[in-house]
Amino acid sequence: MSLLEIENVSKRYGSETLALNSVAFSVEAGEFVAIIGPSGAGKSTLLRCINRLIDVSSGDIRFDGVSVPKLRGAALRRHRTQIGMIFQHYNLVNRLSVIENVLHGRLGYKNTLQGILGLYTEYEKREAVRILETLGLSEQMYKRCDQLSGGQKQRVGIARALVQQPKMLLCDEPIASLDPSSAKVIMDTLRDINQTMGITLLVNLHQVDVALHYAERIIGINRGQVIYDGPPQALNNEQIYQIYGSEAGELILDLKERYAA
């Protein structure tokens, strides 16, 4: 059985906009999947349907054998603890320290009072420190998050997701606000997490070249529909133009470079 099965999922905003149109695919445990497509294609909506930050209009999503659209209350929280999420704008609480932000990843496992007061166990704190060390942030541990650079903030975001001990990570444009060298650090970190910890990755990306370089599988989305689903090697220029709905030569990227390199 696949870790994640998406069956005929549609999402409608109002009566006009169809953000997702009968999307169907499944993801095996341990896969590294990149989702590419133009802005407004429905990539972010798709990720948020998987952890139910957005409710689907129709169709079914099964994660680890559990049907997600019907989850409520405590069961929904338990589902969300299984899935870490990383955001383009990091979404940290800027006024809190790095370690506090990382420990926020444990909130889903705690009862309300423990969460309100920020009472974490020694084990959880040690885990947070260990993860920060592996990500090279041990010196920043007690700094406030608004004092960090973009690349550091994103690593805090990754640490917060990892401390959840998730089965899968959803990454929504993780490098879209970063400079090329920070972006490389983040993408290398994600690949490392995928390979050494066996965590499944679902990454929304704007950069087709990055997607082709890192991912084992590409899903191309345009206007809420899956246009391409397969390995990066099989993706040709024609299909990229189809995903981005543009004519040949209108994209900055051309695949010739890939074969030249």
Partner: protein
Amino acid sequence: MEATIPSRRIQVRPRNRANIVIQVTLLTLTVLTLYGLVTIDARNVEFFAAFGDMLANFRVVLFEARLKNLSWFDLFRELMVTVGLGLLTTVFGAVPAFFFALFAAQNLAPRRVTDAVKAVMAFVRAVPTVLWVLFFAVTVGLGAAAAVIGMTFHSISYLVKAYAETFEELDEGALEALRASGANWWQTVFQAVVPSSASAILSWTFVRFEINFSVAIAMGATAGAGGIGYDMFMASSFYLDLRELGIFTYAVLIFAILLEWGATRLKETVGATR
């Protein structure tokens, strides 16, 4: 180029409805003010003589201030009664206001709930504090108790609006991130909403404390709540002692300045660390 300029004057401000309404309103107010000045019933008071007397009274209040019926210790005690009234009603107001505000912020509660809370609070806020105090005086009698309840009532509604708008300004991303990791609503509130808005909440609470301090003076005079307001009332209308009134005025002024200074310092400290 000359041909493109129309012959009649160019209208810079568009003649839309909003502008016309503003102009009509200003014109009406001007006419009413002039009418009021011309037809005012001065009751045979000589304008210039009265103005001179007023300045003379100001001089007595400000430059010949001294105590007579009260000792310095009494003055301090009475001032502290007024401060206590202001502080108490602010604290009593701030705690429930925080929780109500969570249900009045559109990014934290469903639309129907926020609309209901906001409507009730708008109603409470629309009635002036003094009226609430007099209203509660019917049930608990004129005095400190009515002042505390009435002022608390109005403080809650004021702070709910201020806090709720602070919460609505929050970065939606941080809330989303916590929700995505399985945090429940209360956890999100105390781990993301409170840390991010702490300094704004503190500053609004201090603004309300300043308001409550001045309202407490008025309540001492009008609702029998005691404190320096009552002494000011007695000095000005019963003993007709302008010099003692001067001391009270200075006491209030000095305390208000201290309050402002303290608030600024506190805000700086909270803003710097957290």
